[in-house]
Symmetry: C2
Subunit: 338 residues, 2 copies
């Protein structure tokens, strides 16, 4: 049995998450029982939602238990199988967690999904053609529900969700404006991802200044907003929403550390007759096949080719994750495990 | 031509609205042109939305112009008609404004609506079977969309919208909990309006305390909330919303005077996957016939018999309106004009 390095949640953040919240351990993988599959992970996905699970407070999913392997999406290759649907060599996506190997009960529906890597790189199944891509698809299609010509805005535009959102929005004939941090990310959002414009929020000290920049980039106002960060950015975009605008709320990075994050002008929901709706993509499994088909086609045809930010080896995961929460990554954050 | 007393908006509030924002004038009513109708108002409706229009800032409707008659809903009797669809003696509902008479261009669709007062008192057409009733109906049916057994909460429960909301919610098999100010209003909400419970927000110094009271009154959490006030009450109810809860945002009295009114925990929209939607009932004329039919039946069958708070004479309107904004009224606020 191979040796398996694992990262556990050792203790919960007091306010900001820190590296000492995690601990690295090593155990041999157990022998397989009937119906189980041993997967060697090639990539681990790091995502902002993981920060929410590190807290013990109310969240949409159960808190990450202390002393257990951090939960996370993985793509890898089957090493050994005691389930008839999987064979050694198969490439599979699952929730393998922050570890090098996982033993998966493949009798559980949806626990492992076999994927084809002939035209789509393996790592894309954790990004553009995975959970982040479907997240963008759901917020765009099911909540914002745009029509051609609408102006849409997305925050964290250079990230995995933002890049997919841009490609999906352009495919629907929308004007799409990103918000990202720093000139490099903004240039990438416009030049590589094909957004119509991108605003560097770091150039703006407050919501009023950011609101002015949005006015210039969105002369016809904003019809739909995909919210990945919260705080000042949300406040600013809300001032530019057109009547009957839709806001899909997917992330609130600015508030994960327990910093006070209010919505400054909730009366705008009434004044502009907005719909503001939160969602968790894992609760809408019914849309995944349709969403993954469209996202796969965008990747295969070269219309969605997002950057990746890759660190090597499981031990690098905590620092990469903490950097992600601060926006230090540039593109989909992955850990290459083998 | 009869003399017509009118109240104009003389100047805009600096922060709180005051009586000196208004001025009372008197002019003879003009001679009718073809297609016009002269209506003598019996009742003028006073409603919170009027406060928003007194500001010059962005709102859902154009600001009330200075030097013009304050806009407002009225019910009255036709005195003279030069339109074939209306005859002297007809009872009509319209937007006659803060004045004793109005000259209405009856060729404009929807400008005047003839109503039947044999089974429904005239004044109810400004309340339970009028704009406030339809407001409750729209938020309940189109945004909250409850199923039997859901727990619903409404703020300003003793008011015109709240009382209609309660009757409509009970008719759908929901548990309905009101929030109102003071023991008298709370007793009325439970004993006369038939709510399952009512919480006196004045007994609670902060959102945390109000949230505890809500927990006791809503042991299964809150599935739908009809928001009439904003501020601390909204903050408290949000902490009790169940997953996939719906919040219909109709009013924000707490913020009309320009006092800072934030939403303290917008992350709950994501964590609880809430839908928060603002609406203005005048933009959904397509639902009025269906809504008025149901509301009329509730009144005729005695299931909705809300209180009215009536002042006499046009000159009393400003003080009654300012009192309404502070919650001093008890039931639908009306001005009896003749």
């Amino acid at each position: 049995m191979p040796l398996n390095h694992q990262i556990l949640l050792d203790n919960r953040p007091v306010c900001e998450a820190v590296a000492s919240n995690f601990t690295l351990v090593c155990h041999p993988t157990p022998a397989l029982l009937s119906g189980q599959v041993l997967v060697q992970h090639h990539y681990l996905s790091l995502d902002p939602y993981m920060r929410g699970r590190m807290n013990e407070t109310k969240s949409y999913s159960a808190p990450q238990p202390l002393g257990e392997v951090m939960l996370g999406g993985t793509v890898g290759v089957v090493v050994e199988s005691r389930h008839p649907a999987f064979a050694a060599g198969d490439t599979v996506v699952g929730m393998g967690g922050w570890q090098e190997y996982s033993v998966v009960d493949a009798t559980e529906p949806g626990a492992l999904r076999q994927v084809d890597t002939t035209r789509i790189p393996m790592s894309d199944y954790l990004g553009a053609v995975g959970m982040p891509g479907v997240t963008a698809w759901y917020g765009l299609v099911k909540i914002i529900a745009p029509k051609a010509g609408d102006t849409l805005v997305v925050s964290a535009a250079a990230g995995a969700v933002g890049s997919a959102f841009g490609a999906l929005a352009k495919a629907r004939g929308c004007r799409v404006v990103g918000i990202a941090g720093g000139p490099d990310k903004c240039a990438y959002v416009v030049n590589d991802l094909g957004f119509d414009a991108c605003i560097d929020y770091k150039q703006h000290a407050d919501a009023a200044s950011l609101s002015q920049a949005l006015k210039a980039a969105c002369p016809d106002g904003v019809d739909g907003y995909f919210e990945n960060v919260g705080g000042m950015v949300l406040d600013a975009v809300m001032t530019r929403m057109n009547a009957f605008g839709r806001i899909a709320m997917c992330g609130m990075i600015a508030g994960y550390d327990g910093a006070p994050m209010v919505m400054s002008h909730p009366a705008l929901i009434l004044l502009s007759r907005l719909k503001v709706q939160g969602f968790i993509v894992s609760e809408h499994l019914e849309v995944w096949p349709e969403a993954l088909r469209e996202l796969g086609m965008l990747v295969v045809t070269g219309k969605l080719r997002p950057r990746e930010s890759i660190v090597h080896g499981l031990a690098a995961a905590p620092e990469a994750f903490l950097g992600l929460l601060k926006g230090k990554n540039f593109g989909k954050q992955l850990v290459k495990l083998c």
